[in-house]
Amino acid sequence: MNQQRLQERVRQLREQQSTNPCRVLVCCSSPCLSAGAGAVKSALEAVAAEHSGRVSVEVTATGCLGPCSRGPLVTVRRPGHADAVYERMTPELAGKILAGHLTETPPADNLLPADLPFLARQTRIVLENCGRIDPENLDHYLAADGYAALARALHDFSPEGVCAAVEQSGLRGRGGGGYPTGLKWQLLRKAAGQRKFVVANGDEGDPGAFMDRALMESDPHRIIEGMAIAGYATGAAQGYVYVRGEYPMAARRMHKAIRDAERAGLLGMRILDSPFSFRIDVRLGAGAFVCGEETALMASIMGRRGQPVPRPPYPAEHGLWGEPTVINNVETFGNIPPIIRNGPEQLAAIGTGRSRGTKIFALCGEVIENGLIEVPMGTTLREIVFAIGGGIPGGAAFKAAQTGGPSGGCIAAQHLDASMDYENLQALGSIMGSGGLIIMSEKTCMVDVARFFMDFCMDESCGKCSPCRAGTVQMYRFLDRVSNGSATERGLVHLEELCRLMKETSLCGLGASAPNPVLSTLRYFRDEYLAHIREHRCPAGVCRMTEVPVTLLADELMQRIAAGRLDGEAF
């Protein structure tokens, strides 16, 4: 296939779709499937078959539409009508609704209002196709302008030109660190090496984050296209997608998409009849959080234990098999096609300060609307939680939002109006992270949350460096003592010292960021720690406080011994 043939095919597909009298999109991503989307789809197909003599109805299984807590979701699309989205479908209801549409009497049961803030207040650029196309169907992606960016890059851009466009857009890595993507690509482009590699990081280890899963399951071709453009821009001929082991469906869809793209001449040898060749292989992770770290991830791709190595040398000089490598998050790659297709100005025009473009968040926890949202960088937390998320269930008070998973921190209620961008989140003691956003209400105990994350880091520490291996255990023990009621204030001082020590001396990001949840909860919720320690009370009523507190007497005795003051005076 070459560029003209691609354009011709896209035109045909569009024409076909626009003449189709009725298309029904059933969200078949994991949350909707577990809510029963499979049966809904069968019911719709049965109704479509009944009417097949009269009108043709296309029933499509799509990826994630976003408002996951309202699933199963069904969208009815007819030319000349606005999309009608229905929530909480049952097989009977879905059949009735489709039959209604076909007889021009569409019922209003379970219809989502067209201006539902959850959908209307988003800016969907990376997620533009999610919930709109069948992820397993290349034609659907092509009809949605798919691979137009790759064709344009190969045809109209030099590799330097692509790097420059990405730089100009201001795109920064969406995997946590926020390193400028264009700059990273330039480094690889200029690096000398026989072979170069492009790696997509789909490990998504942060518990409570599911953006990358949704993107890989709902729009896999977009990631392939982004990677191929990266390959062209940097001179790499081989790419790897590293998919988290817990996401077999994402891996399967990536596999299929790669195969389909290869068959269509959009990947593999001489892409679109240009001299550029690029292959992609999928690698499945095996359940280790640290493998999200780039050096550990590369070790894992090479079939080894996922233990990080010190940087520098950075992957751009010494990566897979010692060759120059670029690693980006899958959402970063998802941003690439629109930059090339619509120009870098589109992305650069959205956002705030040095954070340009949009960010996908996985909104969950104690908030009414759970699901996937894409908002401009710099949107306030209040807008996300209350306008888009609908507030806290049962009218409970908002207490904190956790971003960045075990490497991030909590943002307290006084910062609800803070802008969500890289710099500001860092200033508040958290990080942007990969986009998990867990809302906590007054029913959540912050000490318990800190303990939970430390338990996670302790489990996931790879054990290579001692600050992380031993530090996480010591911190966990202390936090456990706080929540069971046997900690002392002196311990708290030690805890803070230990946090600093780990931050400064750990080998990789896991250890260096493991203290973040503790530090940020201490910063905003110190009184809660003190209530546990001094008053033996958990304000949220979560911790059981079953242990006998260590008496201050013994603590003071120790202090006196240390000071050499055992003069027998009464305590």
Partner: protein, 178 residues
């Protein structure tokens, strides 16, 4: 490392085993490259349900890497089990979203109901109880997986009964080699 001599009857004992054939096909597909180790272990685990000693040394031999290295990899990653799992798997998500909504309480309730700790299998080999760090379906929190079926929006009251019912309906915990 030098490839170890393999006894002829040790080969013939496995020739007809479809699971072993699946593993061997995978080895061949990756052209016996050592960097395919994790992919091969995934297939082997899917076929056998766990990675036995004999299986590991077979793979080590085929990929021409030391057994110590393969054991290092198999024990590093959580996804690989070196001992057989129960007939059914019950995985409770203890990721952040599920934890905030009471996943921890559900683990405790099930541990009490089955008299085992998370990570163990009941003595009759019927149920393995496990935890996971986020199954990526956080909007259904708190979440449980009974074999391949998800139970979403769970509450701790009466959880043991619902798990038992779901286990009764579920035929087998193992995915055939995926």
């Amino acid at each position: 490392m030098e490839a170890r001599p393999v006894l002829p009857d040790a080969i013939t004992a496995h020739v007809d085993d479809p699971r072993r054939r699946l593993v061997d096909q995978t080895l061949k597909r990756f052209q016996y490259r050592p960097d395919a180790l994790i992919e091969v272990l995934h297939v082997a685990q899917g076929a056998y349900g766990f990675l036995g000693e004999e299986l590991l040394s077979h793979i080590a031999c085929q990929l021409n890497i030391p057994e110590s290295q393969i054991l290092g990899v198999a024990t590093f990653y959580h996804a690989f089990a070196l001992r057989p799992r129960g007939e059914h798997c019950c995985i409770v998500c203890t990721g952040t979203a599920c934890y905030v909504k009471g996943g921890g309480e559900i683990v405790k309730a099930l541990e009490a109901a089955y008299g085992i700790q998370a990570g163990q299998t009941t003595p009759d080999g019927r149920v393995s109880l496990g935890t996971a760090r986020c199954l990526g379906t956080c909007s259904q929190a708190p979440l449980l997986m009974i074999d391949n079926t998800a139970l979403g929006h769970e509450v701790v009251e009466g959880i043991a009964g619902r798990v038992a019912a779901a286990l009764g309906k579920s035929s087998s915990g193992r995915e055939p080699g995926s």
